[in-house]
Amino acid sequence: METFQLTNIRKTFKNGEVEEEVLKGVNLSLRPGEITALTGASGSGKSTLLTIAAGLQETSEGEIRFKGKNLADVKEEKLRKVRAEEFGFIFQSSHLVPFLTVEEQLFMMLEVAGKKKEEDEVTAILNKVGLSHRRKAYPSSLSGGEKQRAAIARSVIHRPSVLFADEPTASLDSKKSEEVMQLLEDMTKELGMATLLVTHETEMLSFADRVVHMEDGKILA
């Protein structure tokens, strides 16, 4: 069963008189419990596709079908609600809120998603990402790997349906990258999320259930 369906996605940027088409009719489906990895050279359009799928920028043409709705036609406030309740985000940098402790980051996400602040839930996730001993720590005192694990915990605490991960291991060394990817894989399976992973690191592709290669704004067969 498909959770998320992108159909004929096109994106054109205007730069003065010049129009540049960065996505040229992309079709992609994401399935629950699966990591779909998007790879490709820089400028192939993979990050643009992820941000369009996540509702962070508009598509020029095409459909983003999720739970019976076309997100391309949904207004900003509804889209924000979808992002808060149904989506999880992991970025290249951890982007943790600097003045919140690790556990407060998770409580904040639960609040944003309109869910109850369950202490047990937070403890369970922190145990899973191996940060239970750092729950009262501020981001400034965490290592790079710990920050990214905290970011993963924040992205899944509200049990989203879709997880968007944009180069989540780009700032980590290979050992920590593997730890983070293993964690992503475990979370995807355990929570039944449809995960869209953008990466240019071929070593990380082994964690994906499906690898999709992009080139020049198109998905290669």
Binding site: T51, A54, L56, Q57, R80, K81, R83, A84, E85, F87, F89, F91, Q92, S93, S94, H95, V97, P98, F99, L100, E104, F107, M108, M109, E111, V112, A113, Y138, R154, D166
Partner: protein
């Protein structure tokens, strides 16, 4: 969880600096307001103490009480209960070698001013501190008339001098002015041959009062304006520094309204604490400053200025916060660490 307070707790120094600046500016505003009000009291307390009503001067006086001479018939017909005439002249009295500069008042019997008998004088209580007591005899240097001090009145000053209330006969002899200068009526607006002024118009017509008050008011409101701009600049700079974080929060679904709420809570917390402290300091200054310094900061003025600061802070921070609305989550993500 209150993110606004958590941020303040984590970044104490940054918010303490903003709070300190707001405290200093609001304290300066309170002190200046106290001084402006004090000077105003020092200048015109005897007029400001009178109830709101109508002040009439002769038309040929062209709005200056010093040139106004009311004829006796007008005074006779217009005065009565709550309607009265008075005159004021600057002069002095002596006691041994000591000279006292005073504003001499005389009035018809229905006025709220003290009504001493011939040969008596009632002085503003500030003269008491200069060594004058009830029963002392003071001499008018030009006429040589002797006046016995029969009492003191609180807060009666005019043109930065203590008021001296004397009998009309004495006043005429001292200043060679037979007629009253100003007619006060509670309700009568139109009296033939007289020009009518409200209390504030009458105060403004007195030389030096308006110039003094306008200068101080301008400084006062300029300070309020500066504080509003400071709020806008401080919060704008903070918001610029937090652009990345706000973008990420928006991306994960935090409402823009909540980010504004966060900024308002911080602004209100800082302003309330800073203005509370500066308000208390402003009130304390009233007790600590020397008597010679005219300073009067009523609680009502303090509260009104505090409210102005809150409104100005709110407007300033909201104006700067408009940037939050423009932040695109995507740009924040692409910029890297927020």
């Amino acid at each position: 969880m209150n993110m606004a307070l958590k941020e303040m707790k984590k970044n104490k120094t940054r918010f303490l600096i903003i709070g300190a600046v707001v405290f200093l500016i609001s304290l300066l505003t309170f002190l200046l307001s106290g001084l402006a009000n004090g000077l105003s009291e020092d200048n015109m307390a005897s007029i400001r103490n009178l109830p709101e009503g109508n002040f009439h001067l002769t038309e040929d006086a062209e709005g200056s009480y010093t040139r106004s001479n009311l004829d006796e018939a007008t005074v006779q017909s217009a005065t009565g209960q709550n309607n009265y005439a008075f005159s004021v002249q600057m002069g002095g009295l002596e006691k041994s070698e000591r000279k006292y500069s005073l504003a001499f008042f005389t009035s018809t019997s229905t006025s709220p001013f003290p009504q001493p008998d011939k040969g008596e004088v009632v002085l503003d209580s500030s003269v008491k501190e200069e060594g004058v007591s009830v029963g002392d005899t003071l001499t008018h240097p030009q006429t040589g008339e002797e006046l016995e001090v029969t009492g003191f009145a609180d807060n009666e000053r005019f043109s930065h001098s203590p008021a001296a209330f004397v009998n009309q006969e004495e006043f005429s002899s001292m200043f060679r002015i037979e007629d009253f200068q100003v007619l006060y009526t509670e309700n009568a607006k139109d009296i033939s041959g007289l020009e009518t002024f409200s209390k504030s118009e009458f105060l403004s017509s007195i030389p030096s009062y308006q110039a003094e008050q306008m200068t101080l008011s301008m400084i006062l409101w300029f300070l309020v304006l500066i504080s509003g701009m400071l709020f806008a600049i401080f919060f704008y700079m903070m918001n610029v520094q937090k652009t990345g974080m706000f973008g990420i929060l928006k991306a994960i679904g935090v409402r823009t309204r909540r980010l504004f709420y966060m900024m308002w809570v911080q602004m209100l917390t800082i302003t309330s604490l800073a203005v509370l402290l500066s308000g208390l300091a402003g009130q304390t200054a009233g007790v600590l400053l020397p008597e010679a310094m005219p300073y009067d900061l009523p609680v009502s003025t303090t509260l009104a200025l505090a409210a102005v600061f809150l409104v100005v802070g709110f407007v300033g921070s909201t104006f700067s916060g408009l940037r939050i609305r423009q932040i695109k989550p995507l740009e924040a993500i692409q910029q890297g660490e927020g």
